[in-house]
């Protein structure tokens, strides 16, 4: 362990508290406090051994130590965290999880961190909403919406993966964290790095939505807006990562980072009363979230927290960036990269690293992967807002539009328990719906002006109204 584990501001605040509450301890130095905490942490780590054991290549099973590495040196395949499931089984029960924190850290035994005090910014445990109005509109009887549009602190599922990645980054001694991002990941990395007192430098494509850029800058990281698409940003970051020794959450910390998405599976199982759904529908960008929800369900089965059951995995992409859909439809087991051209920028990854694994899961679970065009995505955003009061971003619009398309095609049985994953918040991508929603009716501060306007709004078509002066 080293100094990076203990951000300085925490120490100052603790010294101040000690000073307020007890004269006897007021003379304790910062160094002494540091030493005590270090001892306490070492003991705590000893009492509850970490459950993650090594990194394993997804092709060929070569094993690696638990360092900041993400690819197999022989095949370049991604590395995956392996666990001791007997140790997990011995540590957790439904009761112990329910008694845990109201955040992703209630599932800590399933996550690749050793700290007794992981970075907990209240991430996770977002609502699983039983849908009535959207379900009725689509003709489904058991539809649930996992609403990560209200995940904390930055309103997307990325807070889950970043909480895990930055906790692990601290454990591995990084003082600067970074990422290549389509927006949501940058928001989350910058916010949680600010909370943890880590330096932060993020890379985004230069053409991102204004809300996503502002939602990163406010936390005062260094932001590099790269003139290129996401895949080019990622390529640059790999080259930067080679020489700067930073913790890139989605590159050298990726094996740890991506495990955070399993909590989307864990929470749904717990919130359904320790049961798995019949089917899920989730957006596909790199394919990581989709494969980790699957891993989450499998792990709960493995340690006996839920009964074994086949969950069908449906996936959603935007037509303007649908390399996984194309491979699925053509029966290919490889994914050919494409150049993204869609309003769904948060999922516009033309070269999806986990695409082949997503294809495999869709096929073996009897799931289905589908795409929708930009107009359908906007309709999807509006449909969810108007029927459920949930304002999602373009990725969520894609997922809802694909859900609708698959129901209409008879792929989803109305009786099935279906969970649709909403992964981001609509306030970040307002550009996507501008021009497709109504406008306020501007009136004088007089009752008759209001009544006149109300009358007209009820009798006139919206388009006619917009051309009429009150």
């Amino acid at each position: 362990m080293n100094l990076h584990l203990f951000p300085i501001p925490d120490y100052f605040s603790r010294v101040c508290l000690t000073g307020i509450f007890g004269c006897a301890t007021i003379n304790i130095t910062v160094a002494e406090l540091y030493k005590r905490e270090k001892q306490a942490m070492t003991q705590a780590t000893k009492t509850k051994a970490p459950t993650f054991t090594k990194l394993v290549s997804k092709e060929g099973s070569t094993e690696y130590p638990l360092k900041a590495i993400h690819i197999c040196e022989e095949t370049f395949a991604p590395l995956e965290v392996a666990y001791d499931y007997d140790a997990i089984r011995a540590q957790v029960s439904r009761e112990s999880i329910q008694a845990g924190p109201n955040s992703i850290w209630r599932y800590k035994a399933f996550l690749p961190v050793e700290s007794e005090n992981p970075i907990d910014v209240g991430t996770g445990m977002t609502p699983l909403v039983k849908s009535h109005r959207l379900a009725r509109r689509l003709g489904l009887k058991n539809l649930y919406i996992k609403n990560d549009a209200v995940n904390m602190p930055t309103l997307s599922f990325k807070d889950r993966v970043v909480s895990v990645a930055l906790t692990r980054a601290r454990e591995l001694g990084f003082s600067t964290v970074s990422c290549a991002s389509t927006g949501n990941l940058a928001n989350s990395t910058a916010a949680i790095a600010a909370h943890a007192g880590l330096d932060c430098c993020v890379f985004i494509p230069a053409d991102l939505e204004a809300g996503k850029v502002l939602g990163t800058l406010i936390y005062n990281p260094t932001v590099m807006a790269v003139k290129g698409n996401y895949d080019q940003v990622n390529r640059l970051c790999c080259e930067v990562g080679n020489s700067y020794g930073w913790g890139f959450v989605n590159i050298n910390l990726r094996p740890y980072y991506s495990e955070g998405s399993k909590t989307l599976g864990f929470e749904v199982a717990e919130q359904l009363g320790w049961k798995l759904p019949d089917r899920i529908v989730a957006p596909l960008a790199s394919g990581s979230l989709y494969t980790k929800i699957y891993k989450g369900f499998q792990e709960f089965i493995k340690v006996g927290l839920v009964e074994d059951k086949q969950v069908r995995f449906n996936g959603a992409q935007a037509e303007g960036c649908s390399p996984i859909v194309q491979a699925f439809q053509e029966g290919r087991d490889f994914v050919s990269p494409v150049k993204p051209n869609t309003i769904a920028k948060s999922i516009a990854i033309g070269n999806p690293a986990d695409g082949i694994y997503a294809l495999d899961i869709a096929r073996k679970t009897g799931g289905h992967i589908e795409s929708v065009n930009d107009a359908e995505i906007v309709e999807g955003i509006k449909l969810l807002a108007e029927t459920e009061g949930i304002f999602t971003e373009t990725a969520g619009g894609t997922t809802i539009a694909v859900l609708k398309k698959q129901v209409e095609a008879g792929i989803i049985d109305p009786e099935e328990t279906t969970v649709v994953y909403i992964t981001g918040n609509g306030l970040k991508t307002q550009e996507a719906v501008q021009g497709y929603i109504g406008e306020p009716l501007t009136i004088e501060p007089k009752l008759d002006s209001f009544e006149h306007a109300l009358e007209r709004s009820r009798t006139l078509e919206r388009l006619e109204w917009q051309q009429t002066l009150v």
Partner: protein, 91 residues
């Protein structure tokens, strides 16, 4: 003709820890063969048994993925930059 090749960390053990290598080749296939002469063993890491680049590796010529060009037949000019980049997750 000299082409600049950017080498990712896992392959730098073949290049004396150099992140960039100057090399010759009129197309990507030839470049990989030439690399293997300078840095013996590197080709068997870049390519699989069929002699084509592994599926988790992306090769770019001047920032363009060779799969959008002519694959390993993509021709190279003096001063071109070729980067070898492992696929990464994103979002």
């Amino acid at each position: 003709m000299a082409v600049k090749v950017l080498i990712p960390t896992p392959l730098q053990k073949f290049t004396n820890n150099q992140a960039t290598i100057e090399c010759n080749g009129s197309n990507v296939d030839e470049l990989i063969d030439a690399l293997d002469v300078n840095c013996p063993g590197i080709k068997s890491r870049i390519c699989d048994e069929t002699g084509k680049p592994r599926r988790f590796l992306n090769l770019y010529v001047n920032s363009e993925d060779i799969r959008f060009l002519e694959g390993t037949d993509t021709s190279l000019q003096d001063g071109d930059e070729v980067s070898i980049v492992p696929a990464v997750a994103g979002g």
